[in-house]
């Protein structure tokens, strides 16, 4: 299954986006760090000035059931892509599951506004084109921050780009560019609303929010596709027993409980 696409796609994306960037050898899975940091900065500024305030307004004016309906509507369209991807991955059971979810939610669930498939026992196992590439053998992929979308990898970003270029059920919803912009704008705001508050927590928990986000995302994604991240040559195989040695039994430092 090592298709030409597998060799072609990363090359395409890499050459289109990244040839101008000097590579930074610091991190084995983030060679495009200077470029990624720029996009990260762009996304953060956009979020601070536009997306976050809009998402807060959206939360203030819409009742929770409406927001759930909107979020379900987009999730239902993703089930359609998941059906396609699970077919490509030769996962007939999951594909059938997705087909039933999409059918049930699009009809009895009023065009996807109500998710009746999950309570009916049909698992939500959304699969993206990036997951499909991973199951075809493209497990390791470098970190890539996409404008608007945020953390991704070269593999997942290529998958997303291809999915956008494919005809799908969302093209029944919009017919021209302004309608498409409204469609994706609402999607972005709906997604962002669910993550309100996360940016503050991220800022509190990290010394460097960029590195924290990257490492957490890459660890999570590696687990999802069933691989481990490449390590720095000098970080290989740290044995914790060896590292701690005889101070293993040292008592935990005393810390006064945090005052709210």
């Amino acid at each position: 299954m090592k298709t030409p696409a597998r060799r072609l796609l990363p090359a395409l994306v890499a050459s289109a986006l990244l040839t101008a960037c000097a590579s930074n050898p610091n991190n084995p899975y983030d060679p495009y760090e200077p470029f990624n940091r720029k996009v990260y900065g762009f996304n953060s500024a956009l979020d601070r000035n536009v997306v976050k305030p809009v998402a807060e307004g959206y939360r203030a004016v819409t009742p929770s059931p409406v927001r759930t309906g909107i979020s379900n509507f987009y999730a239902n369209l993703k089930d359609f892509y998941s059906l396609f991807n699970n077919t490509l991955r030769a996962e007939p059971e999951k594909a059938l599951n997705d087909l039933m979810r999409f059918t049930l939610n699009s009809t009895f669930g009023l065009f996807g506004l109500i998710d009746i498939a999950t309570p009916a026992g049909l698992a939500d196992n959304k699969t993206t084109l990036g997951d499909t590439f991973a199951s075809w053998g493209w497990k390791q992929s470098n970190y890539l921050v996409l404008p608007f979308f945020g953390p991704s990898t070269v593999r997942d970003g290529s998958g997303l780009g291809l999915s956008f270029s494919m005809p799908g059920p969302e093209q029944l919803v919009y017919h021209n560019t302004p309608e498409a912009a409204a469609f994706y704008g609402l999607y972005g705001v709906s997604q962002r609303e669910r993550l309100l508050g996360l940016e503050k927590q991220l800022d509190e928990a990290s010394l460097d929010a960029y590195t924290f986000t990257r490492d957490a995302y890459m660890q999570m994604r590696a687990k999802e596709v069933g691989t481990t991240l490449p390590k720095d040559s000098d970080e290989e195989d740290i044995d914790i027993d060896d590292l701690v040695g005889d101070d293993a039994s040292a008592p935990a430092a005393q810390v006064a409980p945090a005052k709210p």
């Binding site: 991190n27 759930t68 979020s71 999730a75 998710d115 999950t118 939500d124 669910r194 927590q201 509190e204 928990a205 990290s206 010394l207 460097d208 590195t211 924290f212 990257r214 490492d215 957490a216 995302y217 660890q219 999570m220 590696a222 687990k223 999802e224 000098d234 970080e235 740290i238 914790i240 027993d241 590292l243 701690v244 101070d247 293993a248 039994s249 040292a250 935990a252 430092a253 810390v255 409980p257 945090a258 005052k259 709210p260």
Partner: protein, 204 residues
């Protein structure tokens, strides 16, 4: 015969609970249940008190020295005992501050601790898996939380926690490495102190 039976009953009766609290799985199970009970008493006014109770219960179950060593990685070897102590103190303060602020969100959570524990390193290391569902979250999707414990003289201690495969400890290794490259171990200690001072100011 009867005597043996009674002896066996007594032995089991006495030993089972003692043993039960000493397996990694039951440690996580019991602690989670106790934390949920404490959180249920939170009513918006006593948040600080509940937070204090949960911290007093949970903190002793962790080995923060080992956690800090794991987060720092190779640099740990070059640190003096004083530096190790300072690093542990600051990292512990930061972790407790960050994560105890989020605990009230788990008030109505359901925690399912998996019975099959993964043993490693000749039985001295154990990974306990659990799934947490927070009913208020939109899609009610269970979140996988794994705990890595090791056996000490004082029982099992947690030294690594991962959420959906991302470790809350090793996620700091690259950030710590950057600080050590810039200003040595002392530079990292300073960076953590600054961070904690900022968090204290923010909370006040």
């Amino acid at each position: 015969m009867k005597k043996y039976l009674i002896a066996a009953l007594v032995l089991f009766g006495l030993c089972t609970p003692a043993l039960a609290t000493d397996t990694p799985q039951s440690l996580i199970q019991d602690t989670s249940a106790q934390v949920l009970d404490m959180l249920k008493k939170e009513d918006g006014k006593n948040t600080a008190k509940v937070r204090g109770q949960v911290e007093a219960l949970v903190i002793p179950k962790f080995d923060f020295t080992r956690m800090t060593a794991l987060a720092v990685g190779r640099g740990w070897r070059d640190a003096t005992p004083e530096q190790k102590q300072a690093l542990t103190r600051e990292f512990q303060t930061m972790l407790v501050r960050t994560y105890s602020g989020t605990m009230t969100r788990f008030k109505n959570a359901q925690i399912d601790v998996k019975p099959n524990v993964l043993l490693n390193n000749e039985g001295r290391e154990a990974t306990v898996r659990s799934e947490v569902v927070v009913p208020s979250s939109k899609d009610n999707k269970p979140v996988a939380i794994d705990y890595v414990l090791y056996k000490t003289a004082a029982g099992w201690k947690v030294f690594n926690v991962s959420v959906e495969g991302a470790s809350l400890v090793t996620v700091y290794r690259n950030q710590f490495g950057d600080e050590i490259r810039k200003g040595g171990i002392d530079g990292l200690i300073r960076a953590l102190q600054d961070k904690n001072a900022k968090l204290t100011r923010g909370a006040a």
